[in-house]
Symmetry: C2
Amino acid sequence: MQIHVRGYESGDPRVKPAAGHGIDRPTELPDRMDVLIVGTGPAAVVVLAQLSRFPSIDARAIERRPGRLAVGQADGIQARSVETFQAFGFATEVTDEAYRNVEMCFWKPSPDDPSKIVRASRAPDDATGISEFPHIYVNQSRILDYFLRDAVRAPGRAVPDYGIEFVDCTIDPEAEYAVTARVRYTAGARQGEERTVRAKYLVGGDGARSAVRASLGHRLEGEASMHAWGVMDVMANTDFPDFQVKCSIQSQAAGNILLIPREGGYLSRMYVDLGEVDEHDAGAVRETPIEAMIDAANRILSPYSLDVRAVTWWSVYEVAHRITDGFDDVPAGLSGQRSPRAFIMGDACHTHSAKAGQGMNVSIQDGFNLGWKLAAVLERRAPESLLATYAAERKVVAQNLIDFDREWSAMMARPVDSWEDPDELERWYLATMEFPAGFMTEYTESPITLGTEHQHLATGFPVGKRFKSAEAIRRADNRWMHLGHLHEADGRWRVYVFADAAAPGLAGTPTADFARWWVEDPDSPRVLYTPGDGDDDAVFDTKVIYQQDYTAFDPSDVPPAFKPVKVPFGLVDTNQIFASGHGRDIHRDRGISRDGAIVVVRPDMYVAAVLPISARQELTRFFAGHMLPPAQRIRPEPIRSIHDRIRL
Amino acid sequence: MQIHVRGYESGDPRVKPAAGHGIDRPTELPDRMDVLIVGTGPAAVVVLAQLSRFPSIDARAIERRPGRLAVGQADGIQARSVETFQAFGFATEVTDEAYRNVEMCFWKPSPDDPSKIVRASRAPDDATGISEFPHIYVNQSRILDYFLRDAVRAPGRAVPDYGIEFVDCTIDPEAEYAVTARVRYTAGARQGEERTVRAKYLVGGDGARSAVRASLGHRLEGEASMHAWGVMDVMANTDFPDFQVKCSIQSQAAGNILLIPREGGYLSRMYVDLGEVDEHDAGAVRETPIEAMIDAANRILSPYSLDVRAVTWWSVYEVAHRITDGFDDVPAGLSGQRSPRAFIMGDACHTHSAKAGQGMNVSIQDGFNLGWKLAAVLERRAPESLLATYAAERKVVAQNLIDFDREWSAMMARPVDSWEDPDELERWYLATMEFPAGFMTEYTESPITLGTEHQHLATGFPVGKRFKSAEAIRRADNRWMHLGHLHEADGRWRVYVFADAAAPGLAGTPTADFARWWVEDPDSPRVLYTPGDGDDDAVFDTKVIYQQDYTAFDPSDVPPAFKPVKVPFGLVDTNQIFASGHGRDIHRDRGISRDGAIVVVRPDMYVAAVLPISARQELTRFFAGHMLPPAQRIRPEPIRSIHDRIRL
């Protein structure tokens, strides 16, 4: 944690001084705001937490419920989400309290006596080491808690506006406050009252029955029929050996169970397939009693039995594979001609089964994709056109999600005797692991992602995919660090300069030449886009990684480009210099050319570019496509160091 | 984290439901209480947090200051302390925000030009892997914050009583409320007012000038003269290459510096030796200006220079190596004849230099040693005689600390040309590393620590030393876990049954025989001391570790002794069964006999006994020496699951 750069401040360093809109933030929803977020689900809280880190922005999140969510449906947290939690500062805390998944067991009818299930195989959770973060299970309500805690600790001090629902809206794309929204109080003293509020941007994270989506004239398209699932969180005594292990359980004749252990060591969740339900069922399947689900589980588990001691939550729900026909308010015909002013995210965009544990995770990434872009545009660091990339990028992900989940849930529901190859399920599970872990997203060429023509310079950092962290030695304190763990959700772009083989102190090397260009040339993005009155690394978090062992050089050998000066003390920051050592060699581990390479990473942690270290015009042109120089900006208010820290 | 065993509870699982004295805890200091703690330093907050976990006990901590400590002097946190933080549930959080020390650099006069310093050598921080926890630096105030947060989240909801100082006391060892203490309000509406309060026990953690110590008639004994140190926390620009690395810096003629980097990446602490001060100095040395200290630092660092941009804290202080002549209120002549009713801890018992970073760490262990004993006696789980072991155990540690620090600080102050062997300092540093890391403490035979006659059965768990954790596979969820990280500060004794080589399902094996004896025999401590109305593992946390791979057996193969039943649902807990696998083999890693062994660990994580798996009488006799059966106990109030969770 890099903290105390503006002097030592006593107290929890995770609680930042309030600033801008975070100072005396009104408790009542104002008449006008920068961003109106609808909902406080996983996508919505990410946007709220992200924007609260930019106190020049007034963001509000309305929520129909009168208060905190007590129990949410989702509980599967893929490694990509935990990586995202790291960017918001709570990965270790949530991992400490979660169930940690390390393997999946596949149970099937015994070849000797198909009326009994046997453990057919095991599959490790992350056999290929795709992430250093774990795959965990913890209730969705806790994830919301953590993001909301981050939001209130951030300078913007954002908290949800509970007890207010969105009714509808009109949008005038030419107006500064483009969105005119009707909202209604659902709780409290003003219950039943309607108000009209205005916002520059509207963000709908209001679920599968999204009112924002309806207001934008979009709808979910896809299957007509619904699939029904029974789900129960149970505490049980059982002789089934894997009650606390993720299992696929296929019986011969009694159906299938997906078993997901829950946090704490005593609770497990069972998904029991209740089959297809047509449109005329009219909710009858939802009357399935819990006793029937427990009976079904016992039949499936035979010869084992399940003595349920407590049911802590259960539900029957129906779901279809559907996707929205639009992610923002720009009509298909006007795409590229005007910028969007309203967006929808999460379940408002895509519905599917819970079986692959994707819903909350993809929603978090929807929010992470949108949040930094909204911040950049509202702070006039980026043109409005940046916002068009949200729909372009996320609709592809949503479609992939629907396709994957349709295949997976069909497999999980399939009768065991319909498989030609008995190992097909496990093989498919292992072969497609990267998708449910959250790492298959690969953004294609766009104003914020370059092409792959220089990919060979850094084969371990595929362009368009998330930056796969690796360890290096930080020269200031000689400590090994995961580079990616330093990537905070602070809206900054990362420029990783993987040096050529020359010693850091030498002049005239490719790395030294780049370093001079980066801080001196008028065409350098660093020079063009960094305001003169703040930290040198306010816009570009520039880090250099030398090939040498950390004992081979000193910070004074390193060019100033990699030692940003910080306000207010004019401190020279030596924390951005990395090296190899103690067996770590990131050039080796990530296939980086020994001639060096530049890797540009977006604020949402996706690799935007791999370039040769001689790149100049490419960098200038790339950033010119989606950045604005400071002169055109509204300068955010300076941070006031006030002593209004919230109580822990 | 094992949680939700009594049903799923929404919210932060670290915040426990209030119970007993935690329900409607009075904000005003009561007239009578179980334990009166004086001070809120490192030792005191450990005792408060420990006792707050036992809500049948009414513990209060008074503090002269009107509120939270903003900046403390200490900042070095040894691995043993981080291990202790794990037991209180905050090791990962504090590590995330702290400086992590990985090596120390030794700077000396250059052989070529002794007027200039050069880096002579490096020493890794934990070359022998003595702990899986790191050595960190973070301000003492944060450590207090974390313990106090634990105290208020625990069922007892303990918070300090700020603005009240201890004046003096009388003790009547025969009375139930033996301690009659005068206290005085130092702040708030009652400022200046004196009160008399009564307590069963008095705990003095009130520093080097302890009023409790004076009241008990004890004094610090040791050196007459004081040693003066200048210490400054500075943010600086410098060409000195190791400003963020722990360094010993010895100049030829300008003196020495101990450099300790601080959390955050920008701040470092420098200790500058100001020499011996005699008793007639009358504080003159404390007038040393900060400018003089900065000048001295620049002379020592030559040829490098230090451009100090901000001084965030500085002090000049004098200290002598002194130790108290008594740790409790039992006069030397009555030792063993009556039990103590008052104790002193931390700086009240031992003063020394800050150079080895020991003060806060040893104080934390003072508090950890005392806390569980007080809880056991007050809950009538243990006889009062248990409390005599506090002084017996900790005075040895205190003396070792004084001896170690005297040697180390003399070395750090020694002129560079007085060394015969130029590498002596580094060699001594490496050779003695176990002491400052906190792992040299080795309690000798006593009512709570057996002898070493069976040590060969588990050579990696030395009797009397702290349990050195190792990884095993937990069979319930097939996950690798550090056994030691499951050791919560819950006052329970750990009984680790390292199984013989037989398969878990077989009858008549040594492990199976022990398991039956442990839960069935009337002489078994588990039978004798476990109340019938709670969890089976309420007193003894019994874990079995099989030699087999985790895939070789199922929980149903394991005897009931290792599957405790939990209230209120009668759940059979399968989380206490461990195995080998994925390269982990704890029998191999800790030198445990393949014939099995029993390792008993105290509530403060020290190994109390290593015994053969056939041990019966030894266990019965050992626990009979310091436990009371439930009949003689005051039963604590049952935990009420109420919804008064504190706000985060």
